[in-house]
């Protein structure tokens, strides 16, 4: 009968958490078939055209125990699957990966492996923009720095495979050094609750999690091939994993990615020198038994990225000319060549971690070593100097984390631990420039305590930690004379959160937390100009009058403190689903660059900025709703609104993402031998109306000619140009997945900025000089075996 067998059965269902709340993005797999999907917004999945037979269904979701059931299919089945959190029975592999940082009472959003596959080929920062409440500060088409609820750089903690990512994060044009292809899941925690990992999580935490290492001997792998029309870019990424013959419990994985892009282009012209090259690889091996595990992970990230040639300017007059040009200066024909200005960044991570389970306790220990090399090349006088980096640093970071998790009862866990970090930052000798930041070494230690418990229909978590950081600094002042100093900062972090089931259809997650961070060395001591910024920057501890470096004592410099309260409400009934997050983040001693005056140099007048402290507030709402029009059609709308204020100066802050909205329609059909989707998305980004005053370069130069310093008496924030107009972008994508023997093939075709709209984005530093990129068509083929 098999040949004539009628394969027209449907297996569908819904995945919920222990409170009956839908879990979006849970992985649902039918074992020994290629059939797999991620659950929809409303927790639903659906496989169609299945032949009768018996199947094993596996459901997995980060932070929950995986669920397996045997289904004998002889008619259409609808399953209801209830996952249990793994905190009650600590699941060893998850513990090993330190992944349980994402609690049920966190306000979090994630991209599952399935969702990542639909956007792969993009950088980490660009990928994260698919989450509501997450934006980016851009420096041209290839450099994306993530922004959570309006704050970025050192106010966001990135956990790469359980290790705090440490690079030269002070620069708004320094993107995170992570290959998104290593991730099986990326989660953004929008509240300040990730207390386990130390200071700096004022805005939130980005958690990049690779898949668990395999424990069986079957060889598996993935191959991704992606091409983009804009930039004529190509990406190849591959992964191989398996176990080791005759060595039970051992698993390994190797992975690598290469990306190459030439100059991107706007609808009208080429963006010269915006190409990039990237070559990354990683390898891991681990051994797991019932009660223990040990893992070693190594990754290497390498990139060379160009910065728009037309953004180079050496004086305020150059800047004025550059901003007035319709097509940027030095725009030439498309090329893959990357000239100055450019960045060359290399990031290495070695991680060793282990855990042991003893009775009710699990002990975790992990050590990480990161070596970050950054070189920035600028246009300098003569070929010999141009060949030297204008800025070059090597940053070593050692981290050691130890913790004990105790299952006190089925509904109560406790985690205590300590963290240590040593950092060493050294300039590479021979740049032949005044170093922009000093050499430093810092020692940080922290201890924490976290309780999680459930009572009636509510999950609670509370946490407390203390951190201390000691700095030793040695740098050079404006006279190129050595200065040396040392100092320390210490403080307490606290958080409390609850997840309440209000009704069968509605749940509320609330979290209030404090967070702090010591000022970064760049904020304290930076001096001069750096890449493509026509402004001079001074650290908090530079004396404007004597040009000397001040002692931190009696300087009034304080650590940043944030109080963040985040509430998320989730509601779902039948075909409707709604999620809304409202937050307020008040940051005391917020450090920012304030315009302080004009300094006359041999290159003409410059506006100079000093790092200054103020109190700032960030309030906003992220909301999304989805309606299932039918089994296959769904419509989704979302909005992300934010208001940021400089409270002390009653002023606006610069580079704050404006309000944005999107509307998408999706058709999705999944059957045993084919899955298909097609999606259209319209995104509208409003003009940023809450932006600082505009003081044009022409006004600055004209006032200076009359001997007036516009900023001496009025140090409110300003911008050289008004915020650009709002814009709407249409994107479409479609994909098909089919089994071929024992492998799965995915094809994807998508087009971003389909209408080739000409626009500028307020949070892109390139907006002063050029339009954004035009239409980009992407073709991708993925092979999974």
């Amino acid at each position: 009968m098999s040949a004539q067998e009628v394969c027209n059965l449907t297996l569908s269902g819904m995945v919920t958490d222990e409170n009956g709340i839908a879990l979006r993005g849970a992985s649902v797999q039918l074992k020994r078939t290629i059939l797999g999907a991620a659950t929809s917004e409303s927790g639903k999945f659906r496989f169609e055209k299945i032949c009768p037979g018996s199947y094993t269904l596996v459901v997995q979701y980060l932070g929950y125990e995986s669920f397996e059931t045997f289904v004998v299919l002889d008619r259409n089945e609808e399953l209801s699957i209830n996952l249990q959190p793994d905190e009650i029975v600590l699941h060893e592999v998850i513990v090993a990966d330190h992944a349980q940082v994402i609690n049920r009472s966190n306000n979090a959003a994630s991209l599952s492996a399935h969702q990542l596959a639909e956007v792969n080929g993009k950088s980490l920062g660009e990928t994260l923009q698919n989450l509501s409440g997450v934006n980016s500060i851009q420096s041209g088409p290839a450099i994306f720095k993530p922004v959570i609820h309006g704050v970025h750089s050192q106010r966001i903690l990135i956990l790469n495979n359980g290790i705090r990512q440490e690079g030269q994060q002070w620069g708004a044009e320094h993107a995170p050094e992570i290959d998104p292809f290593i991730a099986n899941n990326i989660t953004v925690i929008k509240d300040a609750a990730a207390i386990k990992y130390g200071t700096d999580a004022l805005g939130g935490v980005i958690v990049v999690t690779p898949a668990e290492l395999p424990t069986d001997q079957k060889l598996g792998g993935k191959l991704h091939l992606i091409g983009n029309s804009n930039g004529r870019a190509g990406t190849i990424s591959g992964l191989l994993e398996g176990g080791i013959k005759n060595l039970k419990g051992w698993g390994w994985r190797v992975q690598g990615t290469g990306r190459l892009s030439g100059d991107a282009h706007t609808p009208e012209y080429v963006l010269s020198n915006t190409g990039f090259r990237e070559m990354n690889y990683s390898a891991s091996v681990g051994h797991h038994t019932e009660k223990s595990g040990v893992e070693v992970f190594y990754s290497n990230f390498n990139t060379t990225v160009g910065i728009l040639r037309g953004s180079v300017n050496e004086s305020t007059a150059d800047l004025a000319a550059a901003m007035n040009r319709e097509v940027p200066a030095n725009t030439s024909a498309f090329t893959y060549t990357i000239n100055e200005p450019r960045q060359e960044v290399n990031h290495n991570l070695v991680k060793v971690n282990g855990h042991i389970k003893r009775a009710k306790n699990v002990y975790n220990l992990q050590y990480g070593l990161q070596i970050n090399n950054r070189k920035e090349f600028d246009l300098r006088r003569g070929a010999a100097l141009t060949a030297l980096p204008a800025l070059a640093y090597t940053l070593y970071t050692h981290t050691l984390d130890a913790e004990r998790e105790t299952a006190i009862s089925d509904s109560h866990t406790r985690c205590v631990g300590l963290n240590g970090m040593v950092q060493d930052n050294n300039k590479l000798d021979g740049t032949q420039t005044l170093p922009f930041i000093p050499n430093f070494r810092n020692y940080s230690t922290g201890v924490f305590w976290i309780e999680k418990f459930s009572h009636r229909k509510t999950d609670y978590d509370i946490g407390l930690r203390y951190d201390f950081r000691h700095y030793q600094v040695a740098g050079f002042n404006f006279q190129n004379r050595l200065y040396k100093t040392q100092f320390g900062f210490g403080n307490v972090t606290a958080t409390a959160g609850a997840a309440v089931k209000l009704s069968e259809t509605t749940s509320l997650i609330t979290n209030a937390g404090s967070a702090w961070r010591p000022p970064n060395v760049a904020e304290l001591y930076s001096l001069g100009t750096h890449q493509s910024a026509a402004a001079i920057e001074y650290g908090l501890l530079l004396d404007e009058v004597t040009t000397q470096v001040k002692d931190i004592k009696n300087s009034g410099v304080a650590a940043e403190h944030a109080l963040k309260w985040v509430n998320t409400i989730r509601h779902q009934k039948n075909k409707w689903q709604l999620e809304a997050t409202a937050y307020v983040n008040y940051i005391f001693n917020y450090i920012y660059l304030q315009p302080r005056g004009i300094t006359e140099t041999g290159r003409g007048p410059f506006v100079y900025f000093r790092y200054t402290q103020t109190d700032a507030s960030f309030t906003g709402v992220d909301a999304s709703t989805q309606y299932e029009l039918s089994n296959k059609f769904s419509v989704r709308a979302s909005a992300s609104l934010l208001r940021a204020r400089d409270v002390t100066q009653k002023d606006f802050l610069i580079f704050i993402p404006s309000n944005r909205y999107d509307l998408s329609f999706r058709y999705e059909s999944i059957t045993i031998n084919k899955s298909f989707f097609a999606q259209a998305k319209l995104k509208y980004v409003a003009r940023q109306s809450r932006s600082p005053r505009v003081v044009s370069t022409a006004e600055i130069l004209a006032a200076k000619e009359q001997g007036i310093d516009l900023f001496l008496q009025d140090s409110r924030n300003f911008d050289f140009l008004a915020a650009p107009e709002g814009y709407a972008l249409l994107s479409v994508s479609t994909g098909l997945s089919v089994p071929v023997q024992n492998t799965k093939l995915d094809f994807r075709l998508s087009a971003d900025n389909l209408a080739n709209v000409r626009y500028r984005e307020y949070t892109n530093r390139m907006r002063y000089f050029a339009n954004e990129t035009g239409r980009n068509v992407t073709v991708a083929v993925n092979l999974t075996f």
Binding site: W250, H287, H398, D429, G602
Partner: protein, 206 residues
């Protein structure tokens, strides 16, 4: 079977502690030497204009900015020339991060050597000079009497000639050094390339 026993909990702990210990040793062996100061060859901390009349004493005017991008402003001298007189102007640039005996001290030589990617542009208040007439070639298309040239026969501007006009006070004289790698041509202007210098001197004609 032996293999499995090899990797018990205790062995795993040993592996882990071993690696951690090795890393700790590597960490502590780092040294605490003071960083070496950088040589800073490309900066110009002093510009000297020398206006030499035929047979007379030269007029020397300086602009000095020892802290460069530091908050202290550049100090610019005033130019005082005699009316209706021919002058040769030579421009010298110095890098105060080096001792006067160091070859790097004289930036002028560097600009000369790389003349093919540098040009000085000038502008002045109307009437200050009778030759060249006009107001110069910064943001304008006026004439400047260049007397030097690069390997391609294009002007550099380290040497120029000027004839002053009638007596006047409170006027200005601006010099701009442009770095124009692969840009400099017979048609390139003061708005091409990046500014290495842009200084406006007060000028009076007696």
């Amino acid at each position: 079977m032996l293999h499995i026993k090899l990797f018990t909990m205790k062995s795993q702990l040993k592996i882990f502690l071993g690696v951690a210990l090795l890393s700790g040793v590597a960490l502590l062996s780092g040294c605490d030497k003071d960083p070496e100061p950088e040589n800073i060859p490309e900066e110009i901390t002093k510009v000297v204009l020398t206006f030499t009349p035929a047979g007379g004493a030269p007029v020397v005017v300086e602009a000095v900015d020892p802290d460069l991008d530091g908050p202290q402003s550049i100090v610019i001298g005033s130019i005082a020339l005699v009316a209706n007189t021919n002058y040769t102007l030579t421009i010298e640039m110095f890098n105060g991060f080096y001792a006067p005996t160091d070859p790097e001290y004289k930036v002028t030589e560097e600009v000369e050597e790389e003349g093919a990617e540098h040009q000085l542009f000038f502008s002045w208040s109307d009437g200050v000079f009778s030759n060249p007439a006009g107001t110069g070639n910064i943001g304008a298309t006026g004439t400047v009497n260049y007397t030097d040239s690069d390997e391609n026969g294009l002007p550099v501007g380290l040497a120029t000639t000027w004839t002053t006009g009638a007596a006047t006070t409170g006027k200005s004289f601006r010099i701009m050094l442009k770095h124009q790698p692969q840009i400099k041509s017979s048609t390139s202007t003061s708005s091409d390339g990046e500014s290495d210098l842009d200084i406006t001197f007060p000028i009076g004609i007696n």
